[in-house]
């Protein structure tokens, strides 16, 4: 299972990469493999405020629907619109082309609640 060193993780299987106060969010390789073929994503509107731990969107595989949980609080800056036509990118490249949303963090201290690679690895072991 691919778990890059430089990212942060949640126990609900999102990953976060931080650039200043801008967080890019996706789902982990483990999550995409558990879900199977991803066929549909529902994202919030741009500029919407989201709260840490609250669901902000949904991800659908053939057999299941899962919530996307906000790993940080903040404002939605951008959503990955290319996934509308090719949701399979989340399966193929979960840490790259399959990214989901960019969030402008409003409470940077929340980052402390996120998991490191080692912590996340223990959760999925």
């Amino acid at each position: 299972m691919n778990i890059p060193e430089h990212l942060f993780y949640t126990d609900s299987h999102e990953w976060i990469s931080l650039d200043g106060e801008i967080a890019t969010v996706g789902i982990t390789d483990f999550a995409q493999s558990e879900l199977g073929d991803i066929i549909f994503l529902e994202f919030p509107e741009i500029n919407m405020n989201i709260e840490y731990g609250e669901p902000f969107g949904t991800i659908e595989a053939i057999k299941t629907v899962a919530d996307l949980n906000a790993p940080v609080s903040g404002k939605i800056l951008e959503v990955n619109t290319t996934l509308e036509d090719s949701p399979e990118k989340v399966n193929e490249d979960p840490y790259g082309e399959g990214w989901l949303v960019k969030i402008k963090c409003s409470k940077l201290e929340e980052i402390k609640k996120l998991l490191s690679k080692d912590d996340y690895e223990k959760i999925i072991a």
Partner: protein, 366 residues
């Protein structure tokens, strides 16, 4: 959890295992969409050993089955198979089943989730000159489905001539490495396909040989995930989703197997009444006109009034849109009617269509 005789082969192939009707079954191997397309384009191999099989024999077998099932057993000739169902006295569907007539006995194939219930129901109504035996644990059921299924089977069998002449919903005895087994031209996918009922040990050899010989056709093992999307594209009912004891065969669109004129049978009086009074709802097939995937139990609306409930839904790999089945109030069941499906609080537009969704299958291929 019970395991089929092929369980270790699924693990070896990297299958994702789920619990289904008390069995550890493969949900998927390479991925549901890939497996779905494999069956539509070439050939897929399924382990369906969780299904139940009863042997019914004795002088009174035909009369007994005539009483217990809703299709007309008198029309079933030796070497034929028949899609049928059992109903309660109130007309609710106990199970949908396939009945095979052999020389001296019948094979009654039931859903995995209903094996115990069906056996008890049949046993409760058993008559003196009828023998009922549950042979489920001794039977490995392998389905070979897809346009290349005939070529693949011919390649591995000792003599392929039976396969060449086997007609839709007929069965016969095939020989594999000297072993005789029942094979029918039946399935749940909408493609040309066969189901092989292997009694006793040694079925895993057939499974392995099918996969190896199938390489030239790009054959793959197929899990329950793709089995569900394949059947949904054909609007085939799934027991527990689209039909159960709270639904009757008339509203479920199974009038074609409900032979009210065959004489008395379990549930007949209730079903006569349903036919006489007309149904209040019907199981329809619908296609999403907006982006969204319908799921079981989502509500169906028309002009903000609730008119029904989704029983099965998915995004179909073949036509790439949300599709589903729903029980809908009888005033709204006409093909072409626009309805709305409530998906996470939003009403999304859908249209009732004439099934099946998938119309280009090889089901009736020569």
């Amino acid at each position: 959890m019970k395991k089929t005789t092929l369980y270790n082969h699924h693990i070896k192939k990297g299958a994702k295992i789920v619990s289904f009707a008390g069995f550890a079954m493969p949900l998927q191997y390479s991925g549901i969409i890939d497996e779905h397309n494999t069956v539509r384009n070439s050939v897929g191999i399924f382990d369906l050993s969780h299904m139940g099989e009863f042997e019914i024999s004795g002088r009174g077998a035909e009369d007994f089955l005539q009483k217990m099932t809703i299709n007309d057993v008198a029309n079933l000739e030796i070497g034929q198979a028949q899609y049928t169902a059992m109903c309660t006295n109130e007309g609710g569907i106990i199970d949908d089943c396939v009945l095979y007539r052999n020389d001296v006995s019948y094979l009654f194939v039931v859903n995995a989730s209903n094996i115990e219930k069906d056996f008890l129901w049949l046993n409760k109504h058993l008559e003196e000159n009828v023998t009922l035996i549950d042979v489920s644990h001794d039977t490995t059921l392998i389905a070979v489905q897809g346009p290349e299924s005939k070529e693949l089977l011919k390649k591995v069998l000792d003599d392929g001539s039976l396969i060449d002449s086997l007609k839709f919903y007929h069965h016969g005895t095939i020989t594999f490495n000297g072993k005789h087994v029942l094979c029918s031209r039946t399935g749940y996918t909408g493609e040309l396909g066969y189901e092989i009922y292997w009694k006793g040990e040694g079925a895993s050899n057939l499974w392995d040989v099918l996969l190896v010989a199938g390489k030239e056709f790009d054959a793959k093992p197929i899990g329950l995930g793709a089995r569900d999307t394949l059947r949904l594209e054909m609007k085939y009912c799934l027991y527990g989703n689209d039909i159960d004891e709270s639904t009757n065969p008339i509203e479920a669109g199974l009038s074609w197997i409900t032979k009210l004129d065959k004489g008395s049978f379990m549930g007949r009086r209730a079903l006569d009444k349903v036919k006489e009074n007309g149904v209040s709802r019907r199981l329809v097939a619908f296609k999403m006109l907006e982006k969204g995937i319908p799921r079981k139990d989502y509500k169906v609306f028309s002009n903000n009034i609730k008119i029904g409930k989704v029983t099965s839904g998915t995004l179909t790999p073949s036509i790439k849109s949300g599709i589903g089945m729903a029980y809908v109030n009888i005033s709204f069941v006409k093909v072409g009617t626009e309805i709305q499906i409530e998906i996470r609080g939003k009403l999304l537009q859908a249209r009732i269509i004439k099934p099946p969704f998938w119309k280009n299958g090889s089901l009736m291929a020569n």
